[in-house]
């Protein structure tokens, strides 16, 4: 009986992930902003929208803004609590990455970042002098022993019950200790007024997407916690054209590929492909697993790495 329930819930979870993968291309919550941006050159362009009482109205595309209905308190509370029963993990298959960088741009779009600001960064790696170079997407590792949250003086960055490490830019004092503490260089700082600050200034702050970004505070990868709440895969995972990313729940032992929608057993995937975590000797216990870049699906087409890049 108990087993059946857990099977059911897993099926439901996988189903919803499958649906969201299929739907992601069609109704991304931020596609409206994209449309609004594309329309800036043609100010007169109007779109038809259905109001709540059933009337069809026309609105200038430039006027479209994303909405968040929940008040700040509610968003902050549920954002700090996390999603009960979940334990999110990501698997990155390095043999499939060809540096398409769709993950990076999808992430920057979602989190209102500039082109030089990376929550996820595709790095050209070469482990030793005579080893093969490869591309390595590097999001926040969402460590289970996070060096960053330990040092935060105000509990602005914290780890929630579902394993995600978030940053609260309503509380962050901008001391940047967490940036210094992170061995994966996963965190960024808003040194100046964030991108489109004026446009988003009236938006209610959503801690699970860390938008709108704020000047003088730290920002980081959040596994798209806002999308997870809607049973969608993270932006980077959905955006990948090459099947690099798997994302899912360690409690369910299931991860879904963001490109193919295929769901596999997490433990089997790791075991059969010699999965590993980055710099495990540091004891940070990352939640992002890597599959080694063997039998690459794409040739390495990066600049040949010079030593200077390999700090």
């Amino acid at each position: 009986m108990k087993e059946e329930t857990s099977n059911n819930s897993r099926r439901k979870f996988l189903k919803s992930f499958g649906i969201s993968v299929g739907a992601a291309g069609v109704v991304s919550s931020f596609s409206l902003i994209g449309a609004a941006k594309a329309a800036t050159k043609k100010p007169a362009e109007m779109v038809n929208l259905l109001t709540q009482d059933g009337q069809l109205v026309q609105v200038d595309k430039n006027q479209l803004r994303p909405t968040v209905n929940e008040p700040l308190d509610e968003l902050q509370k549920r954002g700090r609590e996390g999603i009960p029963g979940k334990s999110f993990v990501m698997v990155i298959d390095l043999s499939k990455c060809r540096n398409a960088r769709k993950c990076m741009s999808a992430c920057q779009n979602h989190h209102q970042l500039r082109a030089d600001q990376h929550h996820i960064n595709v790095l050209q790696m070469q482990d030793a002098e005579h080893t093969a170079p490869y591309f390595m997407p590097k999001p926040c590792q969402h460590c289970d022993n996070p060096p960053c949250t330990k040092v935060c003086p105000v509990d602005a960055t914290f780890k929630r019950q579902d394993g995600i490490v978030l940053i609260d830019n309503e509380r962050c004092i901008g001391c940047r200790f967490c940036i210094a503490a992170c061995p994966y260089s996963a965190r960024i700082f808003q040194w100046t007024e964030p991108k489109d600050a004026e446009k988003y200034k009236d938006l209610t702050y959503n801690i699970e997407a860390n938008v709108p970004q704020k000047k003088g505070t730290v920002s980081k990868c959040l596994f798209s916690a806002d999308r997870l709440r809607e049973d969608k895969l993270p932006s980077c995972v959905s955006a990948c054209p090459n099947g690099v990313y798997y994302f899912g729940d360690r409690n369910e032992d299931a991860v879904t590929n963001g490109t193919t929608g295929e769901t596999v057993r997490f433990s089997k995937l790791i075991e059969e492909n010699a999965g590993y975590t980055l710099m495990e000797e540091l004891g940070t216990k990352p939640r992002v697993y890597y599959l080694p870049p063997k039998n690459r699906a794409f040739e390495f087409n990066g600049d040949l790495l010079n030593e200077e890049n390999l700090h």
Binding site: C172, A181, G216
Partner: protein
């Protein structure tokens, strides 16, 4: 001790001591000009901070990789220098070493000024200084920053007490003697002197309190610099991830603090004409002390660089090569040689421990100590575990911006202003203690 230059025995009476020490406080024209100059510098550089406040930390040279820069280096330097208060007036004081009597107050003034500004420098470095109270409201005691806030405020408080309490008898004299002082100052002397008239009972109580504080400040002083080192050592970065950072920083702090004290001693001696009080003996002894602390620091440097340099572990290797013969070599070797090794060699010679030569050597030591902090903070941030890629060119290097340099000048000017003001309103050499140490009878009228 016997080989020391015999100081000229001038016939000092209590009246003469009072006059010599109190006179320059009120009759020094240059001092007021100097204060005006410092205030001007602070105002101009305050404008730079205003721009930083308005436009964000983007006006600095810091970016995502080098996210701690000049300000943090300054912070470590200021905390380091402030440790001289604990070294001189507490450790040496508790050991009842008598030659420190005329310079202990200068040491305390330096300690108070530097630690107060160190606390401010951290706020100058914050991305959201408007949220500084979050540290109280949402403070997490697991964070080393909370430990730093705690020990710095404690050290500032105890240092200020160690400045004021031993000064109470002197303040009672100021109240009487400084007839030209403004009414506000007279009131201040009146309040701070607490009605002290040097009765045996008052004397006993006062010295009991001072000794308690002198003991208390030893662990606090050790704590401020140890905790400051932990801001770095608590991370997993190459160059910071080391276990000796606590004592290494404390040893370095004694070097920086002693050098700063020697420089201050020289300027007070010359400007306040205190040659009879801050004598060649004090410079000679301070020179020996500086050699001792430099040798300890050298020993720590040997451990800190030779051992990982021998192993050349992955990660450490790039960092160390950059320091030893890469982009940071000039700064690294200059701070080691000019700031430590050469001063040791020179100062073992008696003739270099004369006031002027030792002051010049101390300038090098102090500058070296500052560059040493810079070399501790910035190169490590440039050498993270993973490669720096897909970011603009200015993320890969770090050069402090004009704004950052201006704000740095502001903090240094503020330190000098605090020292100057304190030395203008308070006697820089203890009057009563000096008289007592020379066996001259002290009389304080009610």
């Amino acid at each position: 001790m016997n080989d020391l230059p015999k100081q000229k025995e001038t016939n000092l009476s209590f009246e003469k001591i009072k006059k010599d020490i109190l006179h320059p406080m009120q009759n020094h024209k240059g001092l007021e000009l100097w204060i005006v100059f410092l205030i001007t510098v602070i105002s101009v550089c305050g404008w730079a901070y205003y721009i930083q406040l308005k436009d964000g930390l983007g006006v600095t040279g810091m970016r995502d990789y080098v996210s701690w820069g000049l300000y943090i280096a300054n912070f470590v330097f200021f905390v380091a220098v402030s440790l001289v208060g604990m070294l001189i007036s507490s450790i040496l004081g508790l050991l009842r070493i008598d030659w420190i009597t005329p310079i202990s107050r200068i040491a305390e003034i330096i300690a108070v000024a530097f630690v107060a500004v160190a606390g401010l420098v951290i706020v100058l470095d914050m991305g959201r200084p408007d949220r500084v109270l979050n540290v109280m409201i949402h403070g997490r005691f697991q964070s080393p920053i909370l430990w730093d806030v705690t020990v710095i405020t404690t050290y500032l408080t105890v240092s200020a007490l160690l400045l004021i309490l031993p000064m109470i008898p002197d303040l009672a004299i100021c109240k009487k003697e400084l007839t030209k002082a403004s009414p506000i100052m007279k009131k201040l002397y009146n309040i701070l002197s607490l009605g002290y008239i040097n009765t045996p009972e008052q004397h006993k109580h006062l010295h009991k309190m001072i000794r308690t504080l002198m003991v208390l400040i030893v662990p606090i002083g050790l704590a401020i610099h140890t905790v400051t080192s932990w801001l770095f050592a608590a991370t997993l970065r190459n160059g910071w991830d080391t276990t000796i950072f606590g004592p290494y920083f404390v040893a370095g702090a004694f070097v920086a603090g002693s050098a700063a004290l020697i420089i201050a001693m020289y300027f007070f001696r010359v400007n306040y004409k205190l040659q009879d009080y801050i004598t060649d003996l004090q410079f000679d002894k301070m020179g020996k002390l500086l050699v001792a602390v430099c040798l300890v620091y050298l020993y720590f440097n040997l451990n800190e660089f030779l051992v990982p340099g021998y192993k050349m572990k992955t990660g450490d290797d790039i960092h160390l090569k950059e320091l030893f013969y890469g982009n940071w070599a000039i700064m690294f070797w200059a701070s080691q040689l000019l700031g430590n090794i050469i001063p040791i060699i020179l100062l073992v010679n008696k003739k270099f421990r004369k006031p002027l030569p030792i002051m010049i050597i101390s300038l090098f030591v102090l500058a070296g100590a500052w560059f040493k902090r810079y070399v501790i903070v910035i190169p490590t941030m440039l050498h993270p575990h993973l490669p720096i890629q897909n970011v603009p060119e200015n993320f890969v290097h770090y050069y402090p911006s004009a704004i950052e340099i201006s704000v740095t000048v502001l903090s240094f000017a503020l330190v000098l202003l605090i020292i100057t003001v304190l030395s203008k309103i308070f006697p820089v050499v203890p009057i009563v203690e000096t008289a007592e140490s020379k066996g001259i009878e002290v009389k304080i009228d009610a």
